[in-house]
């Protein structure tokens, strides 16, 4: 049995026919062709597949595509309009990217945090990103990048 659903991704409507057990992650990557969202563990542990659902970070691997009907999904492709988004700029400026596989997930989680908490402490940042794993061991630079992004979003520092 397949189900016809309409998903809003990055502001655009997509009409897809999906099996009920297919995850949003697979539908985003394979049916819609947005491969910026990464598949890491596939078990909700690593956060590489993080997307925003109505602005809140969720693991798209633990999310059936049928559950996305009526929700606004934001993927990494939807973050920047033309130039890089300030959070992306901060990750580049602070060297918070090594292999880059975890970056889309980290950046979306960071953006979700900064929208609700524009001036997070380091503690609040580490709590917020505790569902995102970086195996290049770059957490310190990621925390610095998120602090930097907070300033950039305030219209502050532009030291690049």
């Amino acid at each position: 049995m397949k189900v016809n659903i309409k998903i809003m991704v990055n502001g655009d409507p997509y009409f897809v026919q999906v099996s009920p057990f297919r995850t949003l992650l697979d539908v985003l990557r394979e049916d819609i062709g947005l491969t910026g969202t990464k598949k890491g563990c596939g078990e909700g542990e690593c956060g590489a597949c993080t997307v925003l659902m109505d602005g809140k970070p969720v693991n798209s691997c633990l999310f059936l595509a049928v559950q996305a009907e009526g929700k606004e999904i934001t993927t990494i492709e939807g973050l920047a309009a033309g130039n890089l988004h300030p959070v992306q700029e901060a990750f580049v400026a602070k060297g918070a990217i090594q292999c880059g596989y975890c970056s889309p997930g980290f950046i979306l989680t960071a953006w979700a945090l900064l929208k609700t908490n524009p001036h997070p402490t380091e503690e609040e940042i580490t709590t917020a990103i505790s569902g995102n794993i970086c195996r290049c061991t770059g957490y310190q630079k990621i925390v610095e990048a998120i602090l930097d992004a907070a300033q950039r979003l305030q219209g502050g520092v532009g030291n690049v």
Partner: protein
């Protein structure tokens, strides 16, 4: 994966009808447990019954001293809602320890309880608050204390066709203090080794009311009635605290698994009990965090 049919009822009775008509159907709430089980083929349902179409299940209402939580309220909402943080702080704190932000945004209160893990993060504080659960089926509905809801690991008192619809929590009495503590091997994304919730009211130095609930140290969350008996009516002092902590440690029935041995869990029950009880003990020098 074999073919699965997807159903999205609009009312609870319809969900119940589906469960009765299709014995191998599975309810879908947030999906953070179900999707893992599907991927690992631990469950092979013929039908998925998605509860997200039943609008009132995600409501939170506080009136006349009663908090009503729909089963589809997310764990992150419980962590954030001001009324929960203000009047039921142990529930809000427990919610903040479940999984990570991404998981909490999807995982639901009903799912956490109905899956009946012995370590279910939300169960101990809710039991301590005398929460009741409302179970709805096409035959009718019934309410029972959450304390009687769990019957074993992954098992509850619910019959085929019943849906956990609402969790009802009375406002704590004036003067009741609450402590939630947990021990886990990591700070985030880890299942608790031990959970301890202590609700206690002092009049002067005398314990006039106490409730102790332990998680992850028995087939279900349990009350430590022996420790409660030791404490109630007595002056809270070092010896009483030590006796109560030891009683709770002896009363639980932990298992050895990948996270900890049974003996370690017993010891951690004692440690967390002592810490919790000392935190009420304002006159003493030994005030631990």
């Amino acid at each position: 994966m074999k073919d699965i049919a997807y159903l999205r009822p609009q009312i609870l009775q319809e969900a119940s009808d589906y469960l009765l008509a299709y014995p191998d159907a599975k309810l879908l709430a947030g999906g953070t447990d179900l999707i893992l089980s599907l991927e690992r083929k631990k469950v092979t349902p013929t039908h998925i019954v998605d509860l997200s179409g039943i609008s009132h299940l995600n409501q939170v209402v506080f009136e006349n001293g009663i908090l009503r939580l729909g089963a589809m309220v997310t764990i992150q909402e419980l962590h954030e809602i001001p009324i929960v943080r203000d009047k039921f702080p142990d529930i809000a704190v427990a919610a903040g320890h479940l999984g990570c932000w991404q998981v909490r945004n999807r995982a639901t209160l009903g799912g956490n309880l109905a899956n009946a893990a012995p370590s279910a993060e939300m169960a101990p504080p809710l039991i301590a608050h005398n929460a009741k659960v409302k179970l709805v089926s096409s035959q009718g509905e019934r309410m029972l204390p959450l304390e009687e809801f769990f019957t074993g690991p992954g098992r509850t008192i619910m019959h085929q066709g019943e849906v956990l619809a609402e969790i009802i929590v009375p406002e704590p009495r004036e003067g009741l203090e609450m402590r939630y503590s947990r021990h886990a091997l990591r700070r985030s994304m880890d299942i608790s080794v031990v959970n301890v919730v202590v609700h206690l009211q002092l009049k002067g130095e005398i314990v006039i009311d106490v409730k102790i609930v332990l998680g992850a140290v028995a087939p279900t969350p349990i009350r430590s009635k022996r420790a409660e008996e030791i404490l109630v009516g007595k002056k809270l002092d070092n010896i009483l605290i030590s006796n109560a902590a030891q009683a709770a440690s002896l009363e639980c029935q932990p298992i050895t698994d990948v996270r900890a041995t049974a003996g370690y869990r017993r010891k951690m029950v004692q440690v967390l009990m002592e810490r919790a009880l000392y935190s009420f003990f304002k006159g003493g020098a030994a005030l631990e965090s």
